[in-house]
């Protein structure tokens, strides 16, 4: 990507180009400055005040909101849940995406059709996804328990010593909540990374595989010695962005638990409470906008730190490659 950009710069050496470029970027810059940069700066300002939406006065409190958040054990619960979600979603999601890409890259007939099918969930709004999965996860009448029940029944039928199937409380038992949200998220997002992995696979020349086949390498050896190392830039890229995305998880838990009237706010025993959601709840349910902004900036700091680390990883990787 970097090579491509620097190549373009070389072919366009004229001086006025800088200014022309700015003009072309202006429509976006104006919107970006108005709707992202300015609010971000204003958010920092707000986080230094005790700022209740209905209050007439907003006293300056310095870093009090930040220290309050750091000594608020629910903040840490939310952070722990978020990290747990990231740990569940990122490896699993990338495995599924890679698996799909590997399977689809060798499909000759109907390949595009399958790509569209697996990509489609990415396009669906999270509200719809959650409503769909709420039915799938339903303990009494859900599809998942129905299938699990018949699988267990069949295994028992052939004589395996399994206990009778007890329907699993996917959404109402605290220890199942995050795995359930993670599974849903993998289903929803796997298609996005699948497309990237497919593109990555496309860049690996057939001659490597041919040579390996001639040397008598089996499929597993070919994958391990050719595909995996040559796919590493793609893999790293996907991992980095999955981590950043997963840290900001909000909609899954919000729609599943918090948007429901009278339901437990973000899941049984707070098991689905994530940092982005806690920020929302403080800002827009308790109207403590200063405190919410402070949580937002703590999340920002975490994500920024991870971004820097991962950027290092990525650039180190591409240097090693060139």
């Amino acid at each position: 990507m970097n090579q491509h950009l620097s190549g373009a710069a070389k072919t366009l050496p004229r001086k006025s180009d800088g200014l022309t470029g700015v003009f072309f970027a202006l429509p976006h810059l104006v919107l970006f400055a108005t709707f992202v940069l300015a609010p971000v700066a204003y958010g920092i300002y707000i986080s230094l005040f005790r700022w209740h939406v209905l209050a007439k006065a907003h006293p300056f409190v310095g870093l009090e909101n930040y220290s309050a958040a750091l000594s608020d054990d629910i903040f840490w619960i939310a952070l722990r849940n978020t990290v747990y979600f990231v740990v569940l979603v990122v490896p699993l999601g990338n495995l599924v995406s890679l698996g799909l890409a590997l399977a689809l890259s060798s499909v000759r007939r109907w390949g595009t059709f399958y790509k569209i099918v697996y990509y489609l969930p990415v396009v669906i709004s999270i509200a719809v996804v959650v409503v769909l999965w709420r039915w799938i996860y339903n303990t009494e009448i859900g599809l998942l328990n129905l299938y699990l029940g018949s699988v267990v029944g069949a295994l028992r039928g052939i004589g395996l010593p399994l206990p009778p199937f007890e329907p699993l409380p996917w959404l109402s038992n605290p220890s199942w909540v995050m795995p359930s949200l993670a599974m849903l998220t993998v289903w929803w997002t796997a298609g996005g990374n699948m497309v990237l992995y497919l593109a990555g696979l496309g860049t690996i020349g057939d001659d490597y595989y041919e040579a390996a086949s001639i040397d008598g390498a089996n499929a597993w050896q070919r994958f391990w010695a050719i595909t995996w190392p040559l796919l590493r830039p793609t893999t790293l890229f996907c991992l980095v962005f999955s981590v950043l995305g997963a840290f900001q998880v909000f909609g899954q838990s919000y729609v599943m638990f918090t948007a429901v009237q009278g339901g437990p706010v973000s899941g049984p025993a707070r098991s689905g409470l994530t940092l982005a959601l806690y920020m929302y709840l403080q800002g827009f349910r308790q109207y403590e906008i200063g405190y919410g902004a402070a949580i937002a900036y703590l999340l920002f700091a975490i994500v920024l730190g991870l971004t820097i680390v991962q950027f290092r990883l990525l650039s180190g990787q591409s240097e090693a490659k060139s």
Partner: protein
């Protein structure tokens, strides 16, 4: 316009945050920044605007009509009844144009709060009794004392005392009470008769004491298809908050200390109430564990003998085909008489223009006068004269639930009530799921609630 920006753009932004978890096709800096977009953007919009008096000043001189906006959250059958009442008002008052906006309760207060803070507030709006101190403490509600002084027909004597007291904040009266909606016992008369829990005339007999309750619940809890799993329950917990407030109230527990400065949730009374709720599931085994069960649906489908729910759920049972049910006061679990209840109050925003205010008061009075219609939708009118009317007496469930009015308990009428319930509820839930003992659960909750109460 501003109203539009605040409410219609902020929510999509919230959603964008979730949408931003579509990995891989995002530009890196945006990923890092989008966490801030939610709080940041909405705030910048908010910050640009100076708070203005509530009305948008559409008291249009041209048409000669006073236009008032009325917001409520009645989206169910109660919404139909409310629409009918407003229609009658329009007919009786051709010079006043009422524009009703119905916003689901889930987002109602978000929208109301922003409108009160930054302009565009309605002229009349519904407020729950438990939320009133919060809004009143920020000075967002218009005092109505002058109107009450003028309207002699609408004095204290016309109202039940509990909702009447809830309309005051620090000595000023800021609301008109429309109803009381207490919790009560719904019971499946068919299951009662099958289990032989009947009176001398062979009618289903609702339990009055704890012993009767347990006895009835035990007789109705069974495995009807013989697969080894209980599929018919004597009792279910539906909304834990109201069930707990009722039972805790009956044990004499209060949520806050009398001065409202400390949590009283770790009191022995509350621990006893929580233990009893826990025991119904794990010791007496007459109620299912609150996981994987849509409790209210199960009651509607006739798989449950008893449930404690608000009177406003009546319509959802009446439309259920094949369900025979009845209502009764909550059985006596503890030593004190108590039942949770809420009230819908009608309020006006602070700083409302006098003309709008007068028209709004007219609407409020009218709705109060029409509250028999309101009662039919599943409410007990706050007006004691209407409660005493023969037409109300003909509403069986409503009159049963209404007998509890003298000892109905609201959520604490405290400005931080809304802030402490999200801290209390996970604690109750932990007890009900058998994750924590009542004592540990309430120790944690108490610490958190005290933190919030200490915060200025």
């Amino acid at each position: 316009m501003l109203q539009f920006l605040l409410s219609e753009i902020m929510f999509p932004i919230t959603c964008r945050l979730s949408a931003s978890f579509i990995p891989a096709n995002k530009v890196l800096p945006r990923c890092a920044l989008s966490a801030l977009a939610l709080v940041g953007l909405s705030l910048s919009l908010v910050g640009c605007v100076s708070p203005s008096p509530a009305t948008d000043g559409i008291a249009s001189a041209s048409s000669g009509k006073t236009v008032i906006d009325f917001w409520n959250g009645f989206t169910g059958p109660d919404g139909k009844a409310m629409d009918e009442m407003v229609r009658r008002f329009r007919k009786a008052n051709p010079t006043i144009e009422v524009r009703t906006q119905t916003i689901p309760w889930g987002t109602y207060y978000d929208k109301l709060t922003l409108s009160l803070a930054y302009g565009g507030a309605p002229d009349v709006f519904v407020m729950h009794a438990g939320r009133l101190p919060e809004f009143a403490s920020f000075g967002t509600l218009q005092p109505l004392d002058d109107f009450y002084a003028e309207a002699e027909a609408l004095g204290e004597k016309k109202f039940a005392p509990v909702p009447w007291r809830a309309t005051f904040y620090e000595g000023k009266q800021v609301a008109l009470p429309l109803d009381v909606h207490p919790i009560g016992l719904y019971y499946n008369t068919k299951l009662f008769k099958e289990a032989g829990i009947v009176d001398a005339q062979g009618r289903a007999k609702p339990p009055k004491t704890f012993d009767e309750f347990i006895e009835a619940a035990r007789r109705m809890t069974k495995d009807t298809n013989g697969d080894g799993r209980t599929d018919q329950w004597g009792f279910v917990f539906t909304w834990q908050r109201t069930n707990w407030l009722t039972i805790a109230g009956q044990f004499g527990a209060s949520i806050l200390s009398p001065d409202g400065k400390r949590s009283a949730l770790d009191s022995p009374q509350n621990l006893r109430a929580l233990q009893l709720m826990h025991d119904l599931i794990y010791k007496y085994k007459v109620a299912p564990k609150p996981e994987g069960v849509d409790a209210w649906l199960a009651f509607r489908q006739g798989k449950v003998g008893m449930a404690l729910e608000g009177i406003y759920m009546l319509a959802s049972l009446e439309e259920q085909k094949g369900l025979s049910f009845a209502g009764a006061p909550v059985p006596q679990f503890g030593p004190v008489k108590a039942a949770w209840g809420g009230s819908h109050l009608l309020c006006q925003p602070k700083g409302i223009a006098p003309e709008q205010s007068r028209a709004a008061w007219k609407l409020m009075q009218f709705l109060s006068d029409q509250s028999l219609l309101w009662a039919r939708a599943g409410q007990v009118p706050a007006r004691s004269d209407i409660q005493g009317s023969p037409q109300f007496g003909a509403l069986h469930v409503q009159t049963q639930f209404a007998t509890q009015l003298p000892f109905v308990q609201y959520e604490p009428l405290h400005p931080k009530s809304n802030a402490i319930f999200p801290l209390i509820e996970p604690g109750i839930e932990a007890v009900m799921l058998d994750i924590a003992a009542p004592k540990e659960a309430m120790r944690d909750v108490t610490r958190r609630v005290n933190q919030v109460l200490e915060r200025p």
